[in-house]
Symmetry: C2
Subunit: 336 residues, 2 copies
DNA sequence: ATCAACATGTCAAACGTTTACATACGAACA
DNA sequence: TGTTCGTATGTAAACGTTTGACATGTTGAT
């Protein structure tokens, strides 16, 4: 009874039922007007619209979803939205989704398998219609078991899913070749320590191929990507100190490139004079902050756009291309 | 009947009903087990858990929400997630929400009033329990009308809402004073062109006060924040060309500071020798990319954390502090 | 025997929608 | 005069849960 009082007529959001009462018709008729389904006389239509206006009615997508089993909701899992690459992807995905009447549930996995697992559970419970995954830290089966539409950005989610990635091998190839063409003989390749088999690892593969092909010896080091930037810097510093002959660095991504440049500066080394540095990604914000960085740019907006379009296509039962590879481009800066 | 076939037993996700059937109890009992409500024997509890395990049951938060009117969902509106400041806020908000069992619906308003309005509508339809707004482009009434819990970051959403902001006046004060102490006599202040009355505008107020107090003349210019970075650069270039006596710039935020530095470099001007530049925000990623930038740092993580905690408190009917102002800190770099 | 108290579980209504089915009316057709 | 169609509306079941009211059984005290 306290409850009755709590949501007295006006306080609770009105539903289709209230609209019906005000308009003097049945709830079904209101639903018909809302969805333009079946026959409705103009007179009734007007009455209903007036009623909706009068009591400030908003349809409830949640209730709708329970019936037709579709909420038009997409889960998006990234390691960190604060990373320039992922931030730009997320923004592009969200824009494209919104333009098509979909919404996005954002998840930051922090590259932690336990978090990623609990996000998967959360997404299932919330009836998402599909999931876009940016960085895998657990087996793809965990996703497959959801029985939902799946799009992997830079990762393979298996049978029936769509995979979107830049030409990772091309990234490694362009970057490494650029350094060699510049005269580097001892090139350090930095990579994240992911155990997962991701296309991004092909960057390293390409580096190895190109370096070998040039008759040089390889030098690959891993940096844990969960660490804060300054700790990564310490790792880089150690590597540089231990290998004073390094004259070129393929940093793996632009953030690592920035970290390398910072460490170098602390040691009185400058790019490109002492060591040449090439990054990868070329996010818009990154380029504003570091316009001089030599890097290999991905078409990040396109990746996000395609991811969104693909997941929508999958949900609609269409057959989108299942393995999209986007070209990359070397951006000439002043660090190599 | 084709329908019956389409979702035959196994294909559709099992509900509480299926669990009940397998466990040989009633749906109510299953619900009781799930929510630990009422008396249940250990035996029954085990049977139910086994059944859930067996048919791979996941509760449906959506259905739950329809009953108790609470979905534990928060709408978050930012202009662009790709901006370093907003990306870091969003990340902190999401982490804090997730830790408390809430989820986030992300919206990129692009600072467009029409988009912001349609997002509000979307959020209402999706039964969000509260909204966190980062940048207002429409009247706050539009939010108040939702009748939901509201938290404004750097903006006032009116009666009953919580407002969280850095000490904006302090930002302008520290930056401007720093430039004056450094000997600047002609200081340009850049600001966005927002028509809204936001706390962030106090940065300019402080600039005006400090400049006047020092007996200098003010020079404030607006830059449309919706434009891409290179167009902003063109605006800055024009300002610099028209005012060759400028010897210091309070850029408003770090991105503008970066743009200023880029334009200066194109013109053969360097910081701090020719023109001193101070930014504002000090996002983590920004500092990695531009470690030499002199800026005023906000505690962005804390802002996000507080925003999330505040909205949860509001939803729970608690009484969180309604106007939180966070201290800022001058970061000494090499551009001033 | 009777009654309260506890332990366990079932039933049915509710949340805000959609939709298959039924009803009702007039007009056109044979 | 009946059959069929086109139009306009209402009824009730369903979606997957939760929950208050109720039913049944078992103890133990009176």
């Amino acid at each position: 009874m306290a409850r009755e009082g709590a949501r007295s007529k006006d306080s609770a959001k009105p539903g289709i039922k209230e609209v019906a009462a005000v308009a003097g018709v049945s709830p079904t008729t209101v639903s018909r007007v809302l969805n333009n389904r079946g026959y409705i006389s103009q007179e009734t239509r007007d009455k209903v619209h007036a009623a909706m206006e009068r009591i400030n009615y908003t349809p409830n997508d949640i209730a709708r979803a329970m019936l037709n089993g579709r909420l038009n909701l997409i889960g998006m899992i990234v390691p960190f939205v604060s990373s320039p690459f992922h931030a730009q992807v997320v923004q592009a995905v969200e824009r494209t989704l919104a333009e098509n009447g979909f919404k996005m549930l954002l998840c930051n996995s922090a590259n932690r398998p336990d978090l990623e697992r609990s996000y998967i559970d959360m997404l299932r419970r919330n009836m998402v219609d599909g999931v876009i995954v940016n960085s895998l830290n657990i087996g793809a089966e965990a996703y497959a078991e959801m029985g939902l539409s799946l799009v992997g950005i830079d990762c393979d989610l298996g049978e029936g899913s769509v995979q979107i990635a830049s030409d990772s091998y091309g990234i490694g190839e362009l970057a490494t070749r650029r350094l060699i063409d510049d005269g580097c003989r001892r090139i350090l390749c930095l990579r994240s320590n992911s155990r997962m088999r991701m296309p991004a690892n092909k960057r390293t593969d390409a580096y190895l191929d190109v370096v070998e092909q040039a008759g040089l010896s390889a030098l690959v080091r891993e940096v844990e990507f969960v660490k804060p930037d300054d700790e990564k810097g310490a790792v880089v510093a150690k590597i540089l100190d231990e290998n004073p002959d390094i004259d070129g660095i393929f940093a793996g991504d632009d953030t690592m490139a920035a970290i390398c440049l910072n460490v170098m500066k602390q040691r009185g080394l400058s790019a490109p004079d002492d060591i040449k540095v090439v990054g990868a990604d070329g996010a818009r914000r990154t380029m504003t902050f570091m316009p001089d960085l030599t890097t290999v740019r991905q078409d990040i907006d396109r990746i996000g756009e395609l991811a969104a379009q693909s997941i929508i296509a999958l949900i609609n039962g269409d057959n989108p291309e299942s393995n999209i590879k986007l070209p990359v481009e070397l951006i000439e800066g002043k660090t190599a």
